[in-house]
Structure formats: structure tokens, C-alpha cells
């Protein structure tokens, strides 16, 4: 594991983070600290900005107001969003190969083991296009077992998984946090784990039409 298993340092934190889309403020003055072992469940109604928050933390969405602070530059994150980032024409194994190859390397036996872990034994050489939606989701999730990362950013990771798949995944989340990793995830489903912390974006959303302080003058 690349991270130090000391539990009192923080991995990342936000400082007065805000997000504005189409002159609508989604959330404002968001402060929270992610430490090793944390499992944050980001909640909110549809359109509350859950996906945007995860993308801001991953560095995919620009941060205009507030800050996202990382403990150091070498902190490794895995982001799995609504779009899984899999190439349909390539096999499950080939997809994992290039995804892992972006920042490190993997052997075939490691990739096969990761696929077996997510219940896709025997599907290693099938093109992803032939797999079902749930199986595609499992291929993407296999990365969690293949690439060691400090923080997992998972956007609706239970989508299209079967009941057993959800139970298994909750178990992976438990193991990851117990080993000193951190998870931030969105889901409309409750997670039955003792260490879950809830981040309800609804509490950070200002009244409709209110604007961010520094941009307030532009809109009446």
C-alpha cells in the first residue's frame, strides 16, 4: 500500500467549497475533512451537485470558489463515474490493462485475480460490448482491486449491480476503509456500515436564486 497507515493525518479537505452551475448555486461553504478510514456518503436530491462535488474533488471540474486541499501530491485517487471509461471493443482484461497502465503496470495474473474478485471469472476475454450493464460496472470496479489508491471517489457505484453485488461491494468498502483508505460515494441507497459519515448537500444549498458573495453583483 502506498499510503501511511497513520489515522490522524487527513487525505484531503475542502475549504469553503462552492459550486455554481447556470447561475444557480448548488452548494455553498462546504467544509469537510477526509481522513484515512473515513467513508463519506454524499446525499442529496437529484441535481443537488453530488456528481459535481466528486468531480471537483477528482480535479475534473474547475473549482471557482473555495479550495480543495490534498495532503500531498502523491495521494492516489480512483474516480469511477456514471460513464465507466471502458472501451466496448476491447475485452475486460484489455480494458483493465490500459486503465492500470496509465499510472503503473499490471500483470495478467493480477488482472485476472481482480476480475475474479468481482465475480467475472471466465469473462476475461469477452469484449465489454457483450457484457451486461451490471457486468460492465463490475469490470470498472475491478480497478479498485487492481490499482492501490488512497481515496476512492465512487459515483453511484451500486447502479445496475445485483443484490449480491451490492453486498459484496459494501464489504470491499469496509475492507478498504479498515486498511486505512478513504471512500467518498454517492448513492440513493443506505449503506449499512457502522463508520459511515453522511454529507447531506441539501444542508449546504442556499435559497434558490441566492448568489455567491463575489459574484452577487452580476445578478439582480
Amino acid at each position: 500500500m502506498s499510503f501511511t497507515p497513520s489515522f490522524d493525518v487527513h487525505l484531503l479537505c475542502t475549504s469553503a467549497l462552492a459550486c455554481e452551475r447556470d447561475s444557480r448555486v448548488l452548494y455553498n461553504d462546504l467544509n469537510f475533512v477526509v481522513k484515512p478510514g473515513h467513508l463519506w456518503h454524499v446525499k442529496g436530491r437529484n441535481g443537488a451537485g453530488k456528481t459535481t462535488l466528486l468531480r471537483q474533488l477528482a480535479g475534473l471540474h474547475p473549482v471557482d470558489t473555495g479550495e480543495v486541499l490534498y495532503s500531498n501530491n502523491s495521494i492516489k485517487m480512483i474516480y469511477i463515474g456514471h460513464k465507466l471509461g471502458l472501451k466496448e471493443q476491447l475485452t475486460a482484461d484489455e480494458n483493465l490493462c490500459w486503465l492500470a497502465g496509465l499510472d503503473g503496470s499490471s500483470t495478467q495474473s493480477q488482472r485476472y485475480a481482480a476480475l475474479e474478485h468481482v465475480g467475472l471469472r471466465g469473462y476475461e476475454e469477452n469484449p465489454v460490448a457483450q457484457l451486461s450493464a451490471g457486468q460492465k460496472r463490475r469490470v470498472a470496479l475491478a480497478r479498485l482491486h487492481l490499482c492501490k489508491a488512497d481515496v476512492w471517489l465512487l459515483d453511484e457505484p451500486f447502479t445496475s449491480l445485483d443484490q449480491q453485488g451490492i453486498i459484496d461491494e459494501i464489504d470491499w468498502l469496509r475492507q478498504h476503509t479498515r486498511a486505512g483508505g478513504a471512500v467518498l460515494m454517492t448513492s440513493h441507497q443506505d449503506i449499512n456500515l457502522p463508520n459511515v459519515k453522511i454529507l447531506d448537500l441539501g444542508q449546504y444549498s442556499p435559497l434558490l436564486g441566492e448568489c455567491l458573495p463575489d459574484k452577487g453583483s452580476s445578478i439582480i
Partner: protein
């Protein structure tokens, strides 16, 4: 970083191998444009040998444009562009790797069949090495410049036309000097100056475009 770029190059070549149509389409388009030209204008050898240089260069440019729109679009649509951008390496290395594959797939085959095309259009045989050399320097420049446009229209619905409008003005100098070098060689004149300018444009594009296209991708 080399390993990162290699991972992208390997993946994209594998994708091309799975879908050879992507590679063959621009080539067929290139051949068709050139085969139709004598039918539309005149099959006379004297006229064709004069216009051959320009026709080949314009056809090469159109073939490049044809495949440019998908340079980043497919990756954007399936979410793999996000994963590529998340890797802890500068985005220009990603652009450089993608452009390299684009040139390998759309530019290199054109260069390889250009002697055949030159014969079809009665280009004097002593001008063929110049044609190949000018295409060798020019087509990577076209791919590099096109990457800026492709990065800007990624995520825009129906960005193909917009891409053409954005990129064509940038292609003008490459076309002018590329075609003139071949025409000069056909007339037995020196080509050093043209080649130097083409090479200068290539180096300029190599320095500027990966960086700017990489920034555009992050928007």
C-alpha cells in the same frame, strides 16, 4: 510518462485493429477524391501533371479532417477521456500520444500510396520523392493542428462542421508550401526553401499544439 503515453498508443492501436474501417475510410476517401478529379476536370495528361500536386495535397488534407472529429470524441463519450486526464501526467503527453496514433492511421498510409497516386495523375516521376517528403513533414503538422480543433469541439454535438471552420484557416500555409514544393520539384527547381518552411511549421505545431489542445480538453 513514457509508460503513460505508451499505454494510450497501445490501446488506440488495439482499437484500430479491432475496427479496421477507421483506418481504411480516410484512405478510400483519399483515393476516391483523386480518382474523381480527372473525371470532373479533364483526363489530359498535360493538365493533370500540372494540377497533381495541389489535388493530392487538398485530398490529403480532407482525409485528415474526416477522421479528426473522432480524435477525442469517442473517448469523451465513453468516459475514458476522464480517466486519461486523471492520470498524474501533463495533458500534452496525452494529446501527443493520441495525435501520433492519428497520424499513424490516417497520415502514414497516404504517404505510402502517394507514389501510386502520383502516377495516376501523371506527376513527373522525379517529383515523387519530394511529394513523399513533403507529405511526411506536412501530414503530422495537419494532425497536430487539427488536435486543437478536435479538443475544442469535444463534447459539442455536431462539432464536425465547427471543427472544419476552425481548422481550415490553420491548414492554409501547410497546403500552400506543401503543394508548391511538389510543383517546384516537377519543374526541376530547388525545394530546400519549401522544405525548410514546412519543417518550421511542423516544429512550431509540435511545440504549441499539444499544450494548447491539452488545455482545451480540460475545459
Amino acid at each position: 510518462m513514457i509508460r503513460y503515453m505508451w499505454a494510450i498508443v497501445r490501446r488506440d492501436l488495439l482499437l484500430v485493429a479491432r475496427q479496421p474501417a477507421e483506418m481504411i475510410n480516410p484512405l478510400v476517401f483519399f483515393l476516391l477524391v483523386i480518382a474523381l478529379f480527372p473525371l470532373g476536370v479533364s483526363p489530359e495528361a498535360a493538365l493533370l501533371s500540372q494540377t497533381a500536386a495541389g489535388v493530392i495535397w487538398v485530398a490529403a488534407m480532407l482525409a485528415t479532417l474526416l477522421s479528426l472529429e473522432l480524435l477525442f470524441k469517442l473517448d469523451h463519450d465513453d468516459g475514458s477521456l476522464e480517466q486519461l486526464l486523471l492520470a498524474p501526467y501533463p495533458s500534452w503527453s496525452l494529446v501527443l500520444a493520441k495525435v501520433f496514433v492519428h497520424w499513424l492511421v490516417s497520415g502514414l498510409p497516404l504517404i505510402l500510396i502517394s507514389p501510386l497516386i502520383a502516377t495516376m495523375l501523371f506527376l513527373p516521376s522525379h517529383a515523387v520523392p519530394t511529394l513523399m517528403l513533403s507529405l511526411l513533414i506536412g501530414t503530422p503538422t495537419l494532425s497536430l493542428l487539427g488536435a486543437i480543433g478536435a479538443a475544442l469541439v469535444t463534447g459539442v454535438r455536431g462539432g464536425g462542421m465547427l471543427l472544419t471552420l476552425l481548422i481550415l484557416p490553420l491548414y492554409v500555409p501547410v497546403i500552400i508550401f506543401g503543394a508548391s514544393s511538389v510543383a517546384a520539384a516537377a519543374q526541376g527547381m530547388a525545394i530546400g526553401g519549401y522544405m525548410a518552411l514546412l519543417a518550421a511549421m511542423f516544429v512550431f505545431a509540435l511545440m504549441i499544439t499539444p499544450w494548447s489542445a491539452g488545455s482545451a480538453l480540460k475545459l
